[in-house]
Symmetry: C4
Subunit: 202 residues, 4 copies
């Protein structure tokens, strides 16, 4: 089986999970108050939406990079992907939690739920990659560049540690933890873009 | 008509149905209580989400295997697929029922609703497959391997019986029935993966 | 511009509109009552879900048939399609109305809302088709069979009249109108399948 | 990386965002009143749905036009697209606001929220286009027609100004602002279609 069919299904889940994030933004009943005021007060929801959308976008770009290096997908790889996509599709739930509760007494629980989801996603992404390159390059293209493969292993490695750290921080400080999730997304966007430009220069 | 267009539509329904499952997970109003406590109490929702997502993933993999063996799709086959996808897209509803009610007095009704949906899905999958291979291999590729076709007929056969059994169990014992649905999903994931590996060995 | 990109977008809208139908099915608060009893009482929701899903599936099959006869799409054709898809994506709303109100005093309004949506969809489908074949076969493939083109014009023609009739019936009798919507879907599924088989015989 | 994968993801987001718009239309509790009366009263929701759906459709057509002129996508371009799609997927939220509040005391806030979203979308579309044609046609096909490229730059340019103007109007007059959003959509549909026909004549 080629990787094309997997890409269609995965792209569907990525696109839907990202687009469903907007359903988490709801204007609460504000009685006789002002909508403008309420819309401003909802700012954590917009930030959470943007961070989660960008995060899903980054993972989507990385998922494509990985699949582009593979010559085929076996059934084990497909099922690892099903569990990986299960995590992606779950992201709207902790995103809503974080947006709703980050500034309340229950912020820590929301921050930890968000962090656990993204840590698990990173773990499954790593398992997927290790399985593909394991067994002497089980699923790799014959012409896959060894240095590119090693570069990916290096660059995806820290993801688990970064999300795990932000999760642990969330046990004590919800808002710092949320800022870390945003910083990780920003870091990936910037480093990839800069990296992409350097590549064009080289 | 080739099977490509059907695959696009089907992949869309599979991906959306799987991703919509997350909308069933909602934090109930917990008054002045603790969010952490509520999130732990919601564990049946996470399990139901994971089992249904994995089940849809398994059926998606199997649907691809079937379409990969066909050389074309006629209109009857398309309409059988529409009814099959109608069942797939319905799965989020009984999943929410099961997650919400499995541990309550109404658990049996939820377990039976879940089971009936998956039994009907299995029935339509079988009708789809029988129609495709019927009439002397009506829609089969000319080069389809007879042993592979027989192997699929054998391996998909027990699905109806397994889901029907778990449904009947649900009339009496909701939690046992739910455990059976999870076990069926696990069985398919493991057997496929192991089978996939043996294949690579052979 | 080829028709491929339009197909991707259209298939997405078809698949999502069909899959969103399930969100219209909700168990009302039943106090200390029985879930089993409530699930049985919800049967109009299941029928409405199935009829709308099948109807969207039929229109999807027909849309494919049309696009398969075209050699290109111009911008006017694209925008007609946008308005056609706008109607398709609207279907979940009147479906929910019909499921909720068909057996109540407000059944007529729901039946008319459902009928108007499908009548408008049929009108836009016809405009799309007339535009494509107008101007001396503006967008038709050079090798499009004249008899096939005429056959499509004939077979899609009655759709508007059938839905308009059922809508008018809905002003007086909601349940009869709803039965007509189901009958129209059934008629299309059966005639297509039978037609498909005859074709194979000929 | 070719632009194909980006198109799949983008088409998914476009299709889902457009189809999710329907979830914003809800019949409020009307006590013992008449559903027919309520459905008529909901007309701003239908208009908002149609305007937003058509707007997303127009942007989708334009996005395709742009991608059709590119020979490749680099990672910077991908991430600009992620932020662009983030805006597209956000549109259902201000659409619901506008539909709900346009005729109330809070209409201005809703009109401004809608306008800011579409202005930002237009800004990101322009950034995407400028990046693609910048650096001496960084991502352009070698055979891209200079006049077509200049024509696109000219025709997309006014979008930001038009939406910014309608947003400013919204600070004072919600209903006038809403009419402007509809007029902009109508203008793009008509000019494109007329333009398309002139092209066929020429």
């Amino acid at each position: 089986m080629t990787t094309t069919r997997l890409e269609t299904f995965a792209d569907g889940v990525f696109a839907i999970a990202a687009t469903l994030l907007v359903l988490a933004i709801e204007v609460p009943d504000f009685g006789g108050g002002s909508l403008a005021h309420e819309l401003v007060r909802l700012w954590p929801s917009y930030v959470a939406y943007a961070v989660s959308f960008a995060t899903i976008g980054i993972i989507w770009v990385n998922h494509h990079t990985v699949l582009g290096l593979l010559r085929k997908a076996d059934r084990t790889f497909l099922f690892i992907n099903v569990f990986f996509l299960l995590c992606i599709a779950f992201i709207p739930f902790p995103t809503k939690l974080l947006a709703t509760y980050v500034r309340s007494d229950n912020g820590q629980a929301a921050a930890v739920a968000y962090g656990l989801t993204l840590t698990l996603t990173a773990v499954l992404f790593t398992i997927m990659w290790r399985y593909a390159i394991g067994g002497g390059g089980r699923l790799l293209r014959v012409d896959a560049d060894r240095r590119e493969v090693d570069g990916i292993t290096r660059s995806y490695g820290p993801g688990i540690a970064m999300y795990a750290t932000a999760t642990v921080v969330g046990i004590f400080q919800a808002e710092v933890s949320a800022a870390l999730y945003a910083a990780i997304a920003l870091f990936y966007v910037l480093s990839s873009s800069l990296f992409g430009r350097e590549e064009a220069v080289a």
